[in-house]
């Protein structure tokens, strides 16, 4: 006699809502690559420019954060063995966040810094608050905490700080009130976003997913724990000292704490990777390996940048931002999506058919050859874009953005194939 398994029902990922987040993220990624391509002439010089601010937020909110929200709705229930507090809230959050993201992007694009930009920032804050409530409601039911859980809680706190700082910054553009430099607060906002929110999630989730994908066993986790404390101490420092003028030394010390923490994280990833049983590197792992090398590089770059004046390098801010957002984060997201989206769809469509009829393997869910072509295109685009910035060549930049756009089209095609399987 067959019995319903209560565990299964409880932790099953809410497929429809996750797909919505992932689909929005992928579509956003293609659009923003297209926008970069057709506006390549405006992408140079200092970063505080309408189109650059607009595209950066399309990338951080629409692509990176949308993906993380979807991934957390998928992973938190299984990793922490708990039911998602509310699918309804996840749905409401999606629409408010999407509206806020579009509003903020168009607001920056036209540099409409009044009500338009501010109302959008308020919408984003509401959406993020809803997410925080949903996560908190989920977390309180967790019975067995693990290291991934701690990272996710920290990430959530930094997400809220990022959102509030963002809102205060947009308000300052409307009615200036910040007594110290606007750009100093912008730096706080950006660092807390990328290190506190995004990288905290990346770290915590990596400790769970990489061993699973590579079948790794028998390694020590102490480096991963060190990473948690070092990065958090550094972030608390950043969050404190950025409120004062002339606090270069304490900010530098905080930055070094963060760099040391990321080094510990990368060492932990190396340990997991070294102990892997599956020697063959599939497409998801290839992308991830590229991303982790890039994380090492930007950490070094950022540390040097924080106490050396590199402004003599042309477009140095754009190079740094591009390498963080594309080299490290976008490559990682694409790689992880090639792992988790096939699983998500497979689970939804075939899980109930196992043993009853033949079902495909995960690797049969998309065309790995196309994916590999996409990988080479994106990797080439990242190197070429960096070179174009360094040599200040607009023609080369156009070509490089073209490569990335093509790469993103292949990725989108493969994602569509998986969803339709």
């Amino acid at each position: 006699m067959q019995q319903a398994n209560p565990v299964m029902a409880a932790y099953a990922p809410p497929f429809k809502i996750i797909v919505k987040y992932f689909a929005a993220a992928v579509i956003d990624f293609v659009i923003l690559n297209f926008l970069l391509l057709i506006n390549y002439e405006d992408i140079s010089g200092f970063y505080f420019q309408p189109k650059i601010l607009a595209i950066t937020h399309m990338l951080t909110l629409g692509w990176i954060s949308m993906t993380i929200f979807g991934a957390m709705f998928q992973l938190v229930p299984v990793v922490l063995e708990v039911k998602l507090f509310s699918e309804k809230l996840a749905e409401i959050q999606f629409w408010i966040f999407l509206l806020g993201m579009i509003g903020l992007t168009t607001g920056f694009w036209n540099f409409n810094t009044g009500l338009h930009l501010n109302a959008s920032a308020v919408l984003l804050n509401i959406a993020i608050l809803i997410f925080a409530v949903n996560m908190a409601g989920t977390f309180i039911h967790v019975k067995k905490w693990n290291i991934t859980g701690w990272y996710l809680i920290a990430a959530l706190i930094y997400l809220i700080i990022t959102a509030v700082a963002g809102l205060l910054l947009t308000y300052n553009l409307w009615h200036p009130y910040i007594s110290i430099n606007h750009l100093q607060y912008l730096k706080l906002h950006a660092e807390v976003a990328v290190i506190g929110w995004v990288t905290m999630v990346v770290m915590g989730v990596s400790y769970k997913l990489i061993p699973m994908f590579t079948l790794s066993h028998g390694y020590s986790m102490s480096s991963g724990k060190w990473a948690f404390w070092l990065v958090n101490i550094g972030l608390v420092g950043i969050n404190t000292f950025f409120h004062f003028e002339n606090s270069i030394t304490p900010i530098l010390v905080s930055t070094l704490f963060i760099a040391a923490g990321i080094a510990c994280f990368l060492f932990q990833v190396y340990l997991i990777y070294k102990n892997r049983l599956r020697k063959k590197r599939d497409i998801g792992i290839k992308y991830s390996v590229f991303s982790f090398y890039m994380l090492g590089f930007v950490t070094l770059f950022g540390s040097v940048f924080s106490f050396t004046d590199l402004s003599r390098i042309p477009n140095v801010y754009l190079i740094f931002g591009y390498l963080v957002l594309y080299g490290y984060l976008s490559m990682l997201i694409v790689g992880q999506m090639y792992k988790i989206v096939p699983f998500l769809t497979w689970y939804h469509k075939y899980s109930s058919k196992v043993g009853l009829e033949p079902v495909p393997m995960l690797k049969d869910m998309f065309n790995e050859k196309y994916a590999l072509t996409g990988y080479y295109l994106m990797a080439a685009a990242i190197i070429a874009t960096t070179a174009s910035f360094i040599f200040n060549s607009q023609v080369a930049l156009l070509f490089s953005f073209g490569l990335m756009f093509l790469g993103s089209l292949i990725f989108t095609f493969n994602m569509a194939v998986i969803f339709r399987k």
Binding site: M8, M212, L277, S351, M361
Partner: protein, 98 residues
Amino acid sequence: MISNEKVLELLKGVIDPEIGLDIISLGLVYNVEVTEDLINITMTLTTPGCPMHSSITEWVKNILWQAAPDKNAIVNLVWEPRWTPDLMSDEAKKALGI
């Protein structure tokens, strides 16, 4: 009555879709016990907190129910003793390149 061997053979049909190998070759099934009205399976998974967690145990039940609808299939998911790669069959090790 369905034999232990038959049960093991059936469980070879439960394949981890990520790894592409079945749960017997992976060494995830620790014990099979068939009684008058029960089939008791004691098994583990490669990683605690694996998203396949619930589905794999569900598939085991499905497949056994198909073959022996008159028996109640029970799956005990255990984490001790912990799974290690040594439990894999030689073919499985070869397939993974170990």
